[in-house]
Assembly symmetry: C2
Homo-oligomer: 169 residues x 2
């Protein structure tokens, strides 16, 4: 499982997240409320709201792509408040991920990843992916999904997983 496989699944999952937001929009319409009520919904009063879960998932994908490829991470202030703004953030993120190709990720597993919050310490690229980027990314997208699910949006596991690269023969 290469760094490129991980970024590919991050991109796919951000696309799935947009589809959950479509379903949230349909659900809000059918139940006659503004979908942006859900942008501020959360599962516990001291937990991130939906919009922050989306911002955080996007950031995890961005930093993984940047740290593992050596490309600079584009800056995006956390100003989103609506579903429309969340969609825009997701598209910026998947556009950035699309600029990182397999060649950029050569040797990614052995890269020295030293984000500022590690205060001078560092992680091997493969450890950063396995211990930080992947768990955090899926933590935030799953919590975003759970917030919608808890609020009555009809989502199922296949909406979460999306398409698979199955083969035959």
């Amino acid at each position: 499982m290469t760094a490129h496989d991980v970024l590919r699944v991050f991109t796919k999952t951000l696309g799935n997240l947009e589809k959950w937001m479509d379903k949230a929009g349909e659900s809000a319409k059918a139940r006659a409320f503004e979908v942006d009520v859900l942008a501020q919904a959360r599962l516990a009063p001291d937990q991130f709201a939906f919009v922050q879960q989306v911002q955080s998932a996007c950031d995890q994908a961005k930093y993984a792509a940047a740290y593992l490829s050596g490309k600079p991470a584009p800056s995006h202030p956390d100003t989103e408040r609506t579903f429309a703004e969340c969609r825009e953030r997701i598209r910026k993120r998947t556009s950035f991920l699309a600029t990182v190709d397999e060649k950029d990720l050569a040797g990614a597993d052995e890269r020295k990843v030293a984000p500022p919050w590690l205060q001078g310490r560092w992680l091997r690229g493969s450890d950063y992916l396995a211990e930080v980027a992947v768990p955090n990314f899926f933590f935030h997208v799953t919590t975003a999904y759970a917030i919608l699910r808890h609020n009555g949006v009809a989502l199922g596991k296949m909406d979460f997983i999306g398409s698979l690269s199955t083969r035959e023969g």
Copy 2:
């Protein structure tokens, strides 16, 4: 990021899950209710309860280890109903994962993984990990975490992530 890295993080995260259950126990005691009330808690009426999230996370870890190593997956009926039984399931799972070493996982990325639910189709080992095992595993542990969080158990992101393999120099 090797298959061995993935199984190592699954094992660590199942250990983290046991610590969330410790905190749930303390919270239940402080608030004077039976912790096993939380075993049946869920975020939506048609979603898995906590105990099923634990069973599913354990299964994802088990099948990943089995399919990627070629070892047979031990069978475990889904009979757990209590926190104590969930802990037992987690321990059986991490014990099985501990029997799978790096040598067993040689060539894991290229293995042909054909679980019965793919009905004759298959996935490359690396695609199975990236598209099925990793998203599903983190989906279920995050949902278990969210159920506890929603029910007032004091958990934070570092409880979710746990220890990191940081280096210095």
